[in-house]
């Protein structure tokens, strides 16, 4: 696994004296005092031996009201040179932490989210406003003393229905009191705080309900003529508090909620979560489950990329593409529906394997599909790749540099389009990815065209992986287990339905390469428990979307659509 070795981390301890190294479940974390935090991180980033120059995640753990200090900051870094990660922790005394934005620009949004959710102030942050909620919201909802159902302080009688004069109150009706909702004034305040200084006469609002934003994202453009001078993004319209839910439902019961984050690639979301939970348990899933999961994850990746391609081309005016890609998508959905029982919110993977074996004929259908698919992808490419309109809308548009990738923690096709071969499938080799052959496509320049080419190539590589998985599964027996069989039920209980399943104390971080970037789950457990103490979801789409505010500067407003499409965020995942 791609983590810094314990010996190497101990060297840090010897060198500085103050870091405390501890080993979690397959991860290594270093705890440093708050006043040495920035110094230590700067060393990690710049020392030629370590070079942890890629920012992965920043979050906070709330240890409960009784603890003092109560909050702990957690930073996850990656070293592209050594291909390893590290966790750095520090205690947030007086509910403040020094800002990381001078080291990594990508920390800007993460810190805003930490302020929003936990009320931790970051000293030196340029504009510490809320990330997901509106500015006048009074609470910090991920704190342990905030109830799961929220604080109901607003009366909303309109949610109650009556049918033909019949009053249905009391019959499966909603409560009249509702949790706080933003009013128009609140939104205006939010908008002004996000962009305190504007240079032009008007700020162009794009979204939150615009078909081009593919979801509910609210863009603010400060324009000079047609060129963007300043940009900020207001997200959170789809915020459902998945992290809070993750801390309040049982382990297997959380999987349906992960479906609803990145709903385009639900299987990959399930995958990342079950990987993290399995790492926490320290179990190895059966061989067959590994191969099934790898195959399904790649099917889902193609599915997601087809939707991306269709809508991307649609946004740029190539309507036919949308109809073609949805034809192939329908076939994949049909296969997925047959195997798992659902088309969209799939919930097929379980901690410990999958919930059912493949149905009769599944491999034949998949084989049939992948025989046909390369030809279809070639068809798409003849329509788009060399087309002069396509070229002029995409080439040299919104270049994202390699430095940006490290600074903002970009992952997935966005990172690969900029020439960084960052692929968690190759780094972590989870499930069967260590045993299949595939290439990582990387771009040259980092413009929109490269990101397009990378995703097209990724589809071809996925087909390659699926073909290998089918060949391997063909050799297996129908009696091979598809779910983890526990050697001793009393010591370790893993159930398909999740009743009575406990995960041990400790911390872990595991991630999968989602079509939208690295989706990671950081789980922290104080003691053995039915529920997590802290469930942090590192969303690839969230960090990838952040670079939008930089890459769009100096570009005409029409490029916003191209850039947004090639970054390809899904709002369910950015907002969680």
């Amino acid at each position: 696994m791609a983590w810094i070795s314990l010996e190497k981390a101990k060297k840090l301890e010897e060198r500085f004296g103050y870091p405390k190294v501890s080993e979690g479940k397959g991860v290594v974390s270093v705890e440093v005092p708050k006043d040495k935090f920035i110094e230590f991180l700067t060393f990690l980033k710049e020392d030629p031996e370590y070079q942890f120059k890629m920012f992965i995640d920043l979050t906070i753990i709330d240890h409960g009201e009784k603890e003092n200090p109560r909050f702990q900051g957690v930073v996850i870094l990656f070293s592209p040179k050594n291909q390893e990660r590290i966790i750095v922790k520090t205690w947030a005394e007086n509910e403040t932490l020094p800002t990381l934005t001078n080291l990594w620009k990508g920390a800007k949004w993460a810190e805003r989210e930490a302020w929003d959710m936990f009320g931790i102030k970051f000293e030196g942050h340029e504009n510490l406003v809320r990330m997901l909620l509106w500015e006048t919201y009074p609470y910090h909802p991920l704190r342990k003393d905030f109830p799961l159902e929220g604080i109901k302080d607003t009366e909303l009688p309109s949610l109650n229905e009556s049918l033909r004069g019949e009053n249905l109150e009391g019959l499966f009706n909603y409560d009249r009191m509702h949790t706080a909702l933003p009013t128009m004034e609140d939104l205006e305040i939010t908008q002004k705080k996000r962009m305190p200084v504007k240079t032009s006469q008007i700020v162009l609002n794009w979204g939150p309900l615009h078909p081009g934003t593919h979801g509910t994202i609210w863009f603010l453009f400060d324009l000079d003529g047609e060129y963007v001078k300043q940009c900020d993004i207001i997200i959170g319209q789809l915020h459902r508090g998945v992290e809070k839910l993750g801390e309040n439902v049982n382990w297997q019961q959380f999987i349906p909620y992960t479906d609803r984050m990145d709903y385009i690639a639900a299987i990959n979301e399930n995958h990342a979560y079950v990987l993290a939970a399995e790492k926490m348990l320290g179990i190895e899933v059966p061989e067959k489950a590994k191969w099934i999961r790898t195959m399904m994850a790649e099917l889902s990746r193609i599915n997601s990329h087809l939707l991306w391609l269709g809508t991307y081309a649609l946004d740029l005016g190539a309507l036919t593409m949308f109809l073609y890609t949805f034809r192939e998508r329908e076939k994949i959905m049909d296969i997925i529906e047959g195997i798992t029982g659902a088309r969209f919110t799939i919930n097929y993977f379980r901690i410990g394997g999958v919930f059912a074996d493949l149905p009769y004929g599944a491999l034949d259908a998949i084989e049939h599909l992948i025989k046909d698919l390369p030809q279809r992808i070639n068809d798409y490419e003849t329509l788009l790749t060399r087309n002069r309109i396509w070229l002029s809308r995409n080439k040299d548009v919104c270049i994202i540099t390699e430095e940006d990738v490290y600074q903002y923690g970009l992952t997935g096709a966005v990172a690969r389009g900029s020439g960084v071969p960052y692929d968690v499938r190759k780094i972590d080799k989870y499930d069967a990815y260590g045993e299949v052959e595939f290439d990582i496509p990387v771009g040259e320049k980092g413009d929109s065209y490269d990101r397009y080419l990378v995703r097209m190539e990724e589809m071809r590589q996925s087909i390659r992986i699926i073909a290998q998985c089918v060949a391997k599964l063909r050799k297996m027996s129908k009696n091979d287990p598809y779910f983890f069989q526990t050697p001793d039920e009393k010591k370790l209980k893993v159930t398909i339905d999740g009743r009575g399943m406990k995960l041990p104390a400790g911390e872990t971080y595991a991630s999968s390469d989602n079509p939208r970037g690295e989706l990671g789950f950081y789980i922290y457990n104080k003691k053995d428990g039915l529920k997590a103490h802290r469930m942090r979801i590192r969303s690839g789409a969230f960090y990838n979307l952040q670079v939008f505010t930089k890459a769009i500067i100096g570009r005409p407003i029409a490029d916003a659509i191209t850039l947004l499409s090639t970054i390809d965020p899904v709002v369910g995942e950015t907002d969680r």
Partner: protein, 230 residues
């Protein structure tokens, strides 16, 4: 580590002058002109969902195909032994425990009001089983938790209604849904012991509408693994 470089290639002069990029694109489009329509004309045409489809729930009744542990579960929970045609539910609430949204279930059981010398004295029956499907995520965890294979998911997916009230299904409706489903497609989905059949098909092969969405080129379903038989 396999890394594959992709990069833009500039258009050649020939391509530019003769509009080859457009001609090639048009060729692909024209090829599609002669193809048959692949969209399914819902609601006049309907694709039959696969056997595993997770639709509206149902509660199965006793019909002689219970799993071997059924009697011991009935005994353990002190439930009145059900007659054929009565529900299999033993009010164990495992479905509720496995549900990500437990409040959608309302399950109650009552002790039978019979004299002391009656054989059913002290035994319980399930009296209330309400499911508020507006809260349901259709994840299928309840069906996997059920020890008596009572709660199942059917292939019905049209849930729309004018009021939230009608999303709440009670035990009679749920039983009726399950009976109807088992009569229609029970053989396809369940084996003699009410578990999922091992040779459940990926999708029903008798459904001819599905051919449309597969471009009239359906895969032929065969065994997945070497020793598997249909």
């Amino acid at each position: 580590m396999g890394i594959k470089k992709v990069g833009a290639k500039p258009q050649t002069l020939v391509e530019k002058i003769f509009f080859l990029d457009f001609i090639k694109g048009l060729k692909t489009t024209i090829k599609h002109l002669w193809k048959k329509v692949i969209t399914v004309d819902f609601p006049y045409e309907v694709v039959t969902p696969p056997a595993r489809f997770r639709g509206i729930h149902g509660l199965r009744t006793v019909d002689g195909t219970e799993n071997p542990e059924f009697d011991s579960w009935v005994k353990r929970l002190k439930i009145k032994p059900p007659e054929p045609g009565e529900t299999r539910c033993i009010a164990c609430k495992f479905c509720q425990a496995a549900c990500p949204v437990p409040e959608l279930f309302d399950i109650q059981s009552e002790k039978l009001d019979v004299p002391e010398d009656h054989p059913h004295y002290g035994l319980k029956v399930m009296t209330v089983f309400n499911m508020d499907l507006s809260k349901c995520t259709f994840c299928g965890l309840c069906t996997q938790a059920c020890p008596t294979d009572c709660i199942i998911m059917t292939d019905i997916y049209d849930l729309s209604s004018y009021t939230r009230k009608s999303w709440v299904l009670d035990k009679d409706v749920l039983t009726q849904i399950a009976n109807d489903f088992v009569a229609r497609r029970g053989k396809e989905k369940f084996d003699e012991k009410s578990a999922w059949r091992e040779d459940q098909k990926l999708w029903p092969e008798y459904d001819k509408t599905r051919e449309k969405l597969w471009d009239f080129n359906m895969p032929r379903l065969g065994p997945n693994y070497q020793e598997q038989t249909a």
